[in-house]
Symmetry: C2
Amino acid sequence: MTQERSGARRSPTGDQLRTWREFVETTDALRSRLSSRLQAESSLSSSDYAVLLALHDADGHCLRSSALADAVGWERSRLSHQVGRMERRGLVARQGSRSAGVALTDDGAATFRRASVAHLRTVRHLFVDALTDDQLAAAGEIAAALRAALDRPGG
Amino acid sequence: MTQERSGARRSPTGDQLRTWREFVETTDALRSRLSSRLQAESSLSSSDYAVLLALHDADGHCLRSSALADAVGWERSRLSHQVGRMERRGLVARQGSRSAGVALTDDGAATFRRASVAHLRTVRHLFVDALTDDQLAAAGEIAAALRAALDRPGG
DNA sequence: ACGTCGGAGTTGACGTGTCAATTCCCGGAG
DNA sequence: CTCCGGGAATTGACACGTCAACTCCGACGT
């Protein structure tokens, strides 16, 4: 990897900072574009979609809260609020008492299937097709390197 | 499900989708890590920081709302709410009547300077130092390519 | 059996982002 | 001068995320 450049902890150079800003602003814009497309096409937020996806992939279209939180990688309380809102809209249903699990309703499953077609097309259009094969591969490596830095103890 | 023959609008392949998910989840995690560091070190949100940065760079530490909205790339109403909150905390001040502009207070300028040292160190640590020189360059190219796709008419 | 301990799940309060009004101000037409 | 149109800026209502309580329930030791 990058070896120690002279000073231990000095600021990024102007070029590095420019790259950083371009990178973060663009990924932000991409995220928000995808989210508003999803909203416009299917009346779902990205969070809604993440939950529907996790439940759709799950056995019996049902998961316990903790497994679901794990699958989407969220805090418990965030999930609880999210599931509450989705339950009000009829996309999911809580099973039995306190800790039985969350299940996709038929409506939720149908909504997800409809949404995912459009969503995947958008992903292809704005990400996959926007990059060359080399760039796509590089994007994967960059993500892995960033993830490694995040997971490093001092991260 | 996926037909081989239809070229134009088919779904991403499994590999492409994996890369996408890894990419988006990692950039998300990076963003949220930076944001919580900033919060812990300086009691500023990323939005606060963006506004302070734009004003700090501005002539006279002051900008009209529309110029500021432009600089940070936000909706007007989002900016208005944000400035209102920051004004309550004494970081910025609205000038005169309705549309004169927003200025950095001394407190805001000092807070920004203090925050930026720590923030830039974190950026260096989690982004610049996490990537090889080649990866950093590739990140810039990827951002440019994604930006181009976003800006394209049909985007 | 009884207590109590701890983790899972929920709730409430609050800061934040978005959308749809609404207000304010300015410049031109009558 | 007065009225009107339109853009800039603000506001309100609501969806969302986070943090800190709080509730529930089952496991364990005695």
